[in-house]
Amino acid sequence: MIHRNTLRGLLLGAAMLTPASARAAGETIGFSQIGSESGWRAAETTVTRQSATERGYDLKFADAQQKQENQIRALRSFIAQGVDAILVAPVVATGWDEVLKEARDAEIPVVLLDRTVDAPDDLYLTAVTSDTVHEGVVAGDWLKEAVGDRACNIVELQGTTGSSPAIARKKGFEQSIASAPNLKITRSQTGDFTRAQGKVVMESFLKSEGGANICALYAHNDDMAVGAIQAIKEAGLKPGSDILVVSIDAVPDIHLAIAQGEANATVELTPDMAGPAFDALEAFWKDGTLPPKWIQTESRLYTSADDNQAVYEEKKGLGY
């Protein structure tokens, strides 16, 4: 035991001594992506590739197709190739200890993107994620501001039941509006994060509550909001004015909706998780600076005050 710890100390020490100035651009970085299950994920991949190219890295990309064993295999292959760093967006939280130890033994820093793992935090360099509770808070704060003092009945479209973003975004929003007694959630149902379900559930809300009694819609993601906007229009109401629409993610189509006045605000879940990760890696390579264990990305709010048409044009090519 003592022996192993000593060894670890030596290895870590060595890891911190070796990098330094000798390295120039042209580092090889392995990136194990979960898959392409959503537009956001596709955009994250695109942005990561782009910023790696800009910085002159050689990015080795591995698509795990939603399987942890594929990710572990990819990580082992990156280790065998002796890459300079590994980025991984872990598909599940558990079962990473072994392979992360292998990476540490090979002195390869690992950065977690977008999700974290249940493993001792000395096994990875840092995790770059968004604070999903905070996203809900930002959405709630915007709505409080927009509504002011008038009474407002809110309907909520939740994400997939039991998924961590759904739980956190609900929690954050509720925290935020708890201080405003005039804001009340009257209906809350899951729309499974999809457009189709968002539309179906909104149709039901409009009938059970009566369209005139709904003042705002809070959707846990933009896709559900886009579906709900169609349902609101088909019910003969104006989304964006009759019913305020606030959602999270900031995918291109919601920017288009905001530009057309059919949605009001969205909180960005940035697809640029790799940017902060690369910054942290560069600092680490340069002089061994250890970043904090958690780097929180900005949850930026977009409203009609922004040039949403321009943002749409800019984001449209990212693969959302």
């Binding site: 392409s36 299950e37 959503s38 537009g39 994920r41 596709a42 939740q158 039941t161 039991g162 209906r187 809350s188 149902q189 899951t190 499974d192 999809t194 457009r195 189709a196 539309k199 179906v200 559930v201 149709e203 039901s204 009938k207 059970s208 896709d223 886009v226 579906g227 169609q230 088909e234 019910a235 003969g236 189509d253 693969g319 959302y320």
Partner: protein
């Protein structure tokens, strides 16, 4: 003929009435319908409209199951057809051409399934599993993993438009159901399908071209799925390859089962399967209208469906029959010797 059909679908009609009554209990305005923007607007219309994809899938699935088969790929085929149609319309083709392309994609998928089952003799559950898994990948390749949106009023009208005040999807599924019903019942086709389902070998020896028939039913299932996929894409003005039709094959099978059709093949009723689809949609509607916390959704749905299936099970039917007989209630069977009917397989 009509009387026989009515007797066949009586249990499903009763359950549908109960499911609608449940909606009425949780939401008293359930039955109110008004005109809005020149179309009928109300929960009842929603049940018919939102039930369209399941109903369309159930038509094809009923025929496949009647041949003792199963088609697990319909959900993935929906995603493919939606993606193909969206791709066609965004690359500048007319929406009718896009619809045709979507249907063609469904037909190809159906023929592939039929080929695996009828020509290569692979078990249907395995043969269609191939496309269930691979098909969604194909759809994702077509849309490059993103939601492929379009603004063509013709194509989106298939999913969210209205004709004569009724939503277009309702016309589509009712039309397809009538066509399929007439085709199998006004010709010998239905009987031949049943013959293949009961015993393929004897059917073949009796001169039925079972191979062609099997390929045909999978082709119909593929076409129905493609139509459902185009409707779903039109509804949200976009092809969502990741989610379109996800797990819909299970709802379709459930609709067929609630319709009292045996998974072992043989006698079938498309009307009963369609009622099954409407029952499922009514249950979904009741859950949405009830305003219960979302964590209860699946539990409530499961409980209701278990109840429906238990009521329909042969053992319970027999028990009810015996109970009636012993209490001397004049059941429908007043004819002298108590018939042995319920003792034979529930559904004859």
């Amino acid at each position: 003929m009509i009387k026989a059909t009515l007797r066949r679908i009586a249990p499903q009609l009763a359950i549908l009435a109960l499911a609608l009554a449940l909606n009425f209990i949780v939401f008293p305005d359930f039955f109110s319908i008004r005109m809005q923007n020149g179309r009928l607007y109300g929960n009842l219309v929603d049940v018919l409209n939102r039930g369209a994809p399941t109903a369309l899938l159930a038509i094809g699935m009923t025929l496949v199951i009647a041949t003792r088969g199963i088609d697990l790929s319909v959900g993935a085929v929906m995603a493919i057809a939606g993606a193909v149609a969206a791709l066609a319309v965004t690359s500048g083709h007319h929406w009718t051409a896009a619809l045709g392309a979507g249907l063609l994609a469904g037909a190809v998928c159906g023929l592939w399934n039929g080929f695996l089952v009828a020509v290569l003799g692979i078990q249907p559950i395995v043969a269609t599993l191939v496309l269930m898994v691979a098909g969604r990948g194909v759809a994702q390749l077509l849309t490059e993993g993103a939601i492929l949106t379009f603004n063509d009023p013709g194509l989106s009208g298939l999913g969210s438009g209205a004709i004569l005040a009724l939503p277009t999807p309702v016309w589509i599924w009712v039309g397809v159901a009538l066509a399929a019903g007439l085709l199998v019942r006004r010709t010998a086709l239905g009987m031949l399908i049943e013959a293949v389902g009961v015993n393929e070998r004897s059917a073949r020896l009796a001169g039925v071209d079972s191979r062609a028939l099997l390929i045909a039913v999978y082709l119909v299932a593929g076409l129905c799925a493609a139509l459902a996929g185009v409707i779903v894409a039109g509804d949200i003005k976009g092809a969502d390859a990741n989610n379109a039709g996800l797990w819909m094959e299970l709802d379709a099978i459930l609709a067929v089962v609630i319709g009292g059709n045996s998974l072992l093949g043989g006698r079938f009723s498309i009307a009963a399967s369609l009622l099954g689809a409407l029952i499922i949609q009514s249950v979904n509607s009741a859950i949405l209208l009830s305003g219960m916390p979302v964590e209860f959704n699946l539990v409530i749905k499961a409980l209701l469906i278990i109840a429906i299936l238990v009521i329909q099970s042969p053992k319970v039917k027999r028990a009810v029959y015996l109970l009636r007989a012993s209490t001397g209630q004049p059941a429908r069977e007043t004819r002298p010797p108590a018939p042995r009917r319920p003792a034979e397989e529930g559904r004859t």
